[in-house]
Amino acid sequence: MAESPAYTDYHPRWLRRRLSTYWWLEKPSYLAFVLREGSCLFVGWFVVYLLLLMRGVLQGDAAYQEFLAWSARPSVLVLNIISFLFLVYHAITFFDAAPRALSIHVGKTRVPEWIVGASHYAAWVVASALVCWLVLGS
């Protein structure tokens, strides 16, 4: 067996084609996949943003006001809006994928995939409602 499956010994005349660098532009579904993977960067950015917010809060009122002023900059605002959209996309694609990975059994019966998917969305709604209550209710 050849070291790399792409090359097979003793068959120099076989036509071996490389995948284009731009393979992800060939089909909408490939592009959707690459955007899904890329959305992780925006998830990472929101983690950093949350840490910056915590630092501002912990360092006192002046630092917090400075953080708010920095957050209100158009560039930061645009970045956060784009990040939010990617985060929603990330969540939806994750929730759509989850039922296919989770095979949950109750007794000997497998729980239908739509119930697994729906429970993820339900948990999302409950968590969002809790956050809204904490932020807006106080």
């Binding site: 067996m1 790399s4 499956p5 792409a6 097979t8 068959h11 005349r13 076989w14 036509l15 071996r16 084609r17 995948l19 393979w23 992800w24 060939e26 089909k27 579904s29 490939y30 996949f33 993977e37 994928a97 296919r100 990975a101 989770l102 095979s103 000997k108 019966t109 497998r110």
Partner: protein, 246 residues
């Protein structure tokens, strides 16, 4: 409806050319003709040198997989009339070396398939006099979907991970490993996990999901791989927290 359709067929004659070319033919297009009928028409009536694989022409043997207008398809189950007014472009399966015209080398897939032991593995075979291994319909349902795979390799053709890294063991091999892991008569899950937990095994999959979309038998290899990853992660955690076994 038009009675003929234009078909562009990829040609590669290794003794004459170093790049792929396309031949264009007009073939009849009755509503019950599949792509394979069109190819047979070309071979019988127009150009007998065209090379391609086929056998059962009923979606069982998995030999006639090709790329039709950019999508991996079983040519015996894809109607010509659906591509009207044409042209229809027929190419070999992607991500495999092309031997000639529409024929690709499937050796890599065959080696990978064997490596996951796609058969029932028993630690001890019980004596014949004790009878058959009993299985309930519910136990059958656990793996039945994955057992529908016909090894047509459309999933490998659609998988960009396999295209980028040919060492990746690939969707069908993992789905078939899962088929036997989920079979209550089988005891070979640990042996398969050794092969599939390697870097080029299940962790190579990034869940593009195209394998499931193109599968003509609705096997859902992508789902099988994600479930396998979950099993692999749980096994690793168990080994970490309970090194002497649960």
């Amino acid at each position: 409806m038009r009675d003929h359709i234009k078909v562009q067929v990829a040609r590669y004659l290794p003794e004459k050319q170093s790049e792929q070319t396309f031949d264009e033919h007009e073939v009849p297009c009755p509503k019950d003709w599949v792509i394979l009928d069109g190819l047979n028409y070309i071979k019988d009536r127009i150009d007998g040198t065209l090379a391609y694989r086929w056998s059962c022409r009923m979606g069982i043997c998995g030999s006639c997989g090709m790329t039709v207008n950019g999508e991996p398809k079983l040519t015996c189950a894809t109607f010509l009339a659906d591509y009207g007014p044409g042209p229809v472009r027929i190419e070999p399966l992607r991500n495999f070396p092309i031997i000639r015209d529409l024929i690709v080398d499937i050796g890599d897939f065959m080696r990978k398939l064997v490596s996951v032991k796609p058969y029932i593995v028993r630690k001890y075979e019980k004596p014949l006099r004790e009878g058959e291994y009993i299985q309930t319909p519910q136990e059958l349902d656990e793996y039945k979907q994955f057992s529908m795979c016909i090894n047509c390799m459309l999933c490998y053709s659609a998988c960009p991970v396999y295209g980028l890294d040919p060492k990746f063991i690939g969707p069908a091999a993992i789905a078939l490993a899962q088929r036997y892991n989920l079979d209550n008569r089988d005891e070979g899950a640990a042996q398969r996990m050794e092969v599939l937990s390697e870097h080029a095994g299940m962790w190579g999959c990034t869940f593009v999901g195209e394998c499931t979309k193109v599968c003509p038998k609705h096997v859902d290899p992508a789902g099988a791989i994600q479930r396998y990853k979950l099993t692999g992660a749980i096994e690793s955690m168990k080994a970490f927290f309970m090194p002497r076994g649960a």
